[in-house]
């Protein structure tokens, strides 16, 4: 009597899917590390470290390129269905999110080089706090993906509101700081973009949570996401 195995009858199909999985897990590690080092460069005002983060971005781009090619090949040659299809689609989308996360981290590293030319800014403390939160979410969502843990993926998605709330309050803090001392406007503008980059990384972590949930359960999370960021509607007048 036939039984359902873990492996495909065609072994090379298994190997191709495994290579895809390995690439995503490698990209996840790289993105995590880029985020961590970029935040460390902000905290320690370390130009050398910031430069390293900028230089390391190419590795993750290469991995994304590999995932794109591998995905097209699998779709064209294997016509994957069911959980195989979901694996391929989720890999494609998650790779794009991870690549964007690394881009935002590299952009923050570049801006650190500018910040380091002026005196330290007080709102940086809140930025670091936001960075720690997003690092935690990224680590958690990558674990959810690797361990096929749908509940953990949902938990990450629910916490995006915390990032948005922190971003809104940091936005107000930077605004106040600039108004009190217009000489900080240039540096504060960079800080504003850095805060936005971290907020975007949080959004990408949420995307990964949703794709992981789809991959694991076959259900897509169609309903509206919880939203905590009101900075778009924040009035600029005091």
């Amino acid at each position: 009597m036939p039984t359902v195995g873990e492996h495909h009858i065609v072994k090379s199909y298994d190997e191709q899917l495994k290579r895809l999985h390995d690439a995503i897990s490698r990209m996840g590690g790289l993105a995590e590390r880029q985020l961590e080092l970029s935040m460390k460069a902000v905290e320690t005002r370390d130009d050398t470290l910031a430069g390293e983060v900028v230089a390391s971005d190419a590795a993750i781009d290469a991995d994304e390129h590999f995932v794109n090619e591998q995905t097209v090949r699998l779709l064209a040659l294997r016509a994957p269905v069911a959980d195989d299809l979901r694996t391929v689609i989720a890999s494609l989308k998650i790779a794009a999110d991870l690549e964007r996360i690394a881009d935002h981290a590299a952009n923050n590293a570049k801006r650190t080089l500018v910040l380091n030319q002026t005196a330290p800014l007080a709102p940086v403390r809140t930025l670091l706090r936001m960075g720690r939160l997003v690092q935690e979410l990224l680590a958690q969502v990558l674990a959810a993906y690797l361990q096929h843990d749908a509940a953990q993926a949902l938990a990450v998605r629910a916490r995006d509101q915390e990032v948005d709330a922190l971003y809104s309050s940091l936005f107000r803090e930077i605004l106040t700081y600039m108004m009190e001392d217009p000489r900080t406007i240039t540096a504060c503008s960079h800080l504003m973009f850095m805060a936005k980059n971290i907020e975007r990384i949080g959004d990408h972590a949420t995307n990964i949570a949703e794709m992981s949930y789809f991959l694991i359960t076959g259900q897509s999370l169609a309903d509206q996401r919880p939203k905590g960021d009101r900075s778009n509607t924040e009035g600029l007048a005091p």
């Binding site: 039984t3 359902v4 873990e6 009858i9 065609v10 269905v81 195989d84």
Partner: protein, 258 residues
């Protein structure tokens, strides 16, 4: 389309089939929606053809075959008391087989055969019209209209299969059963038959057995997965091929069946 509530054309309830002592179908419950394509998939010997043959009582002709349970067509029973007359049933539920099996007659006579024996036509003109209509619906008219008097056996395999579909359509059936209709055809001929199935679904209810999962995915609205004489899972084709509920279904369609 998959979310719409559609009318049930045929219903099977607790259908069991024995060939002598061997139980080939172990209690099948399945609704076949009207004007939709239902695909039956599953490994060889799982009972797909047996189930298909129950739907127009073709199993009656197999010695030792015993069918139990109930099957209805528009709520009329196929078996037992008050059953639809089998001859009438086979007119309402037509069948197309795996290997194209045209009669050794002309193209015209192949299509005219059903309407003639069922006495559906009063005169030659209306028979001509019926033949033209069936060949048009089967997508074969343009290719054969100038050689209706040629022998059907001279057509290519793909054309012969479409001729068999025209022959099935000619008696104006409500349901068309197809048992692996493309397994003897090349990819182009297969694509033409699949395109035809798409068009036919507007006017007919279609049940197709196929061993090609990609074909089931391409042509059907509903997919039913059979395994060892049982119906394991049935659902909208899109759901079966993206997120099947049963491990057995997933194992089979992804090629992880050991």
């Amino acid at each position: 389309m998959s979310d719409q509530i559609v009318e049930t054309k045929m219903n099977a309830a607790s259908v069991r089939v024995h060939y002598g002592a061997k139980e080939a179908l172990k209690g099948i419950d399945l609704d076949i929606p009207a004007n939709r394509v239902t695909a039956l998939i599953g490994p060889s010997g799982c009972g797909k053809s047996t189930f298909l043959r129950c739907l127009n009582r073709m199993n009656d002709t197999i010695v030792g075959a015993k069918v139990s349970g109930t099957i209805t067509l528009d709520d009329e029973p196929l078996y037992g008391d008050g059953a639809i007359d089998p001859v009438l049933l086979r007119m309402r539920v037509g069948m197309v087989f795996q290997k194209p099996n045209p009669f050794p007659k002309t193209i015209y006579d192949n299509v005219a055969f059903g309407p003639r024996i069922h006495g559906l036509v009063p005169d030659k003109d209306s028979l001509d019209a019926m033949v033209a209509d069936a060949l048009t619906k089967a997508g074969l008219w343009v290719e054969v209209k100038d050689r209706l008097g040629d022998m059907a056996t001279g057509l290519s395999g793909g054309q012969q299969q479409r001729l068999c579909i025209a022959r099935a359509i000619a008696v104006r059936p409500e349901v068309i059963l197809m048992d692996e209709p493309c397994s003897a055809l090349d990819p182009i001929a297969t694509a033409k038959v699949e395109e035809l199935i798409d068009e036919l679904a507007e006017s007919y209810t279609i049940v197709i057995v196929t061993h090609s999962m990609q074909q089931a995915a391409r042509v059907s609205h509903l997919t039913a997965f059979f395994h060892l004489g049982s119906l394991i899972e049935v659902g909208p084709t899109e759901r079966i091929f993206t997120a099947p509920e049963q491990q057995l279904t997933q194992g089979y369609i992804t090629g992880r069946f050991g």
